[in-house]
């Protein structure tokens, strides 16, 4: 088994016009997806990220406040999980619930030594 990171771009709820019921539907799908990964012992960890951001640059540690990209490109969260290979990881990303909100999943294998 290898380790992968799934980075979620976009699929930002707060800019959408979601009702309490819709949010709930989404949450159920998230729960289901993560629970399935846990059940197969593939889930390692993950978090959602806030939109606010800061970026530090250069020797003088210059701090700039974000967000730095369009909301649909913004990294909104990530999970780390186990998968056999990239194809397997890709098949696991099918459960990601926010494709309909124009969310995208970037899959990266974690470099090991």
């Amino acid at each position: 088994m290898k380790e992968f990171m799934m980075i979620f771009h976009g699929g930002d709820y707060e800019s959408g016009d979601l009702s309490p019921d819709k949010i709930q539907e989404k949450m159920v799908l998230w729960n289901k997806w993560i629970a399935e990964l846990r059940e197969d012992d593939l889930f390692i960890n993950g978090h959602a990220l806030k939109n606010q951001a800061a970026r530090v640059k250069g020797d003088d540690l210059l701090l700039t406040d974000g967000p730095f990209v369009e909301t649909n490109e913004l990294v909104t969260g990530y999970i780390v999980l186990k998968a056999k290979d990239l194809d397997h990881a890709r098949s696991l990303s099918a459960g990601y619930p926010d494709y309909d909100l124009k969310g995208k999943v970037e899959i990266r294998e974690i470099q090991t030594f």
Binding site: P20, Q24, A48
Partner: protein
């Protein structure tokens, strides 16, 4: 851990929507109606936060309290940002152990219900405002459910909110005398809400049933509270009878099934019993008969009949006649005509049908033509039957009935 997550999904069923009105009313009691806008934002924020953390960390044990606390904190933040209050004004210690029990919450929720059902607000605005703040429906859901544009919904909400602001409406109970009048108002809005869900033939089936369930939830709150009057109990009874056959009216493809063809064994007997119970309650300590009570009696007649043929049409005729004399509503008259047809009083039925002014039918054209079709079926007037059907189809475009009507016309034409 897995069980925790599975549990989350099942417990979550409708949690966010059901919580919404409770949270709004609790925060309103705490911060006052002038903060309504910020309160709504804060609740949505707590929902987003829940959805971003619960899947990864598991659901908190007391999800209601978690949502309340989070919303409350975010509200304090935004109040601070707007400098509307100084932080010292808040007693943070009191928030730490907030636990919400459903019973505690009923009171502010009812208070909000009475605030909304104010005679100064238009009935339609009340309904939209209620669905948004008390029932946690989104704008789009309200727009779908009531078949009004999203812009219209927004306008109604704006009107309600600016009414609160400009009149400085406080989050208080109305005075004792006002309360009596207000209960009638609340009854009427709940009746309207229920009927929206029950009678309108909207293609999106689930949204509609949600309206009925919501009306019943609020009505139940009300009857459990000593504020309600005998009309409220009759209304509750009426809703129980109706909802008992909600599913049997629609087939697997979402097409409408007429009363005579419905599978009576599928009617929910528990709901019918509950209907009986509230009907009895409504007759206690009063001899007055409300329209709700008569309607409940009518519905009860259908519920106790073994099959369509053994329906007691004679009693129904009397009940509809009383109901018609109360409000002179065309929809009641159309029902009365159907009853007369079942009693073979065809001549009288025809006279009544012809007395109806089509220009005053409003939204019940389809029903009118369907009744007309029944009438001419009894008179065996083939040409008129087809004419009525065609008109019915024309008036039901985009609604559930239209499919049923078209297939009916096809079968008639085929002979």
């Amino acid at each position: 851990m897995d069980t925790n997550n599975k549990q989350v999904s099942s417990e979550l069923d409708k949690l966010f929507r059901q919580c919404y009105g409770k949270l709004v009313s609790m925060l309103l009691s705490k911060y006052g109606t002038s903060q309504l806008e910020l309160i709504e934002n804060a609740i949505m924020e707590s929902y987003y936060k829940a959805m971003k953390t619960w899947p990864f960390r598991g659901m908190p044990e007391k999800s209601h309290a978690w949502l309340y606390k989070t919303a409350n904190n975010s509200l304090i933040d935004s109040l601070r940002r707007e400098k509307r209050v100084s932080p010292e004004q808040f007693d943070f210690t009191s928030l730490r152990d907030t636990e919400i029990e459903v019973d505690e919450v009923k009171d502010p929720e009812l208070k909000l219900l009475f605030l909304i059902c104010n005679p100064d607000l238009k009935k339609e605005d009340q309904l939209v405002f209620m669905l948004k703040t008390l029932s946690g429906f989104g704008d789009l859901e309200i727009s779908n459910a009531l078949m009004q544009s999203k812009a219209a919904i927004k306008k109604r909400l704006l009107r309600a909110k600016s009414w609160i602001k400009s009149n400085d409406i406080k989050f208080d109970w109305p005075s004792d005398e006002d309360l009596k009048v207000r209960v009638t108002m609340v009854n009427r809005v709940l009746y309207l809400l229920f009927n929206e869900g029950f009678y309108s033939s909207h293609p999106e089936y689930w949204v509609r049933k949600d309206l009925c369930v919501e009306a019943m939830r609020l009505c139940k709150y009300l009857v459990d509270h000593d504020l309600s009057n005998y009309e409220t109990k009759a209304l509750m009874s009426l809703m129980c009878y109706h909802i008992s056959r909600y599913e049997s009216r629609i087939d697997d493809n979402g097409h409408i099934i007429l009363l005579q063809d419905q599978d009576r064994s599928s009617w929910n007997q528990d709901m019918i019993k509950l209907g009986n119970y509230y009907l009895q309650q409504s007759a206690r300590n009063t001899t007055k008969k409300s329209s709700y009570q008569i309607e409940a009696f009518i519905s009860a007649q259908h519920c106790i009949a073994k099959d369509f043929a053994s329906t007691n049409w004679k009693i129904l005729k009397e009940l509809y006649q009383v109901l018609y004399n109360k409000g002179k509503q065309n929809i009641v008259l159309l029902n009365l005509i159907l009853v007369k047809l079942n009693l073979n009083e065809t001549k009288e039925a025809k006279r009544l049908f012809e007395s109806i002014d089509i220009s005053k039918l409003k939204s019940i054209h389809t029903t009118y033509y369907m009744v007309g079709m029944k009438l001419y079926e009894s008179l065996k007037d083939q040409m008129q039957i087809e004419l009525m059907l065609e008109q019915a189809i024309q008036s039901s475009e985009g609604k559930k009935e239209s499919i049923y009507l078209k297939s009916k016309l096809d079968s008639i034409r085929k002979g």
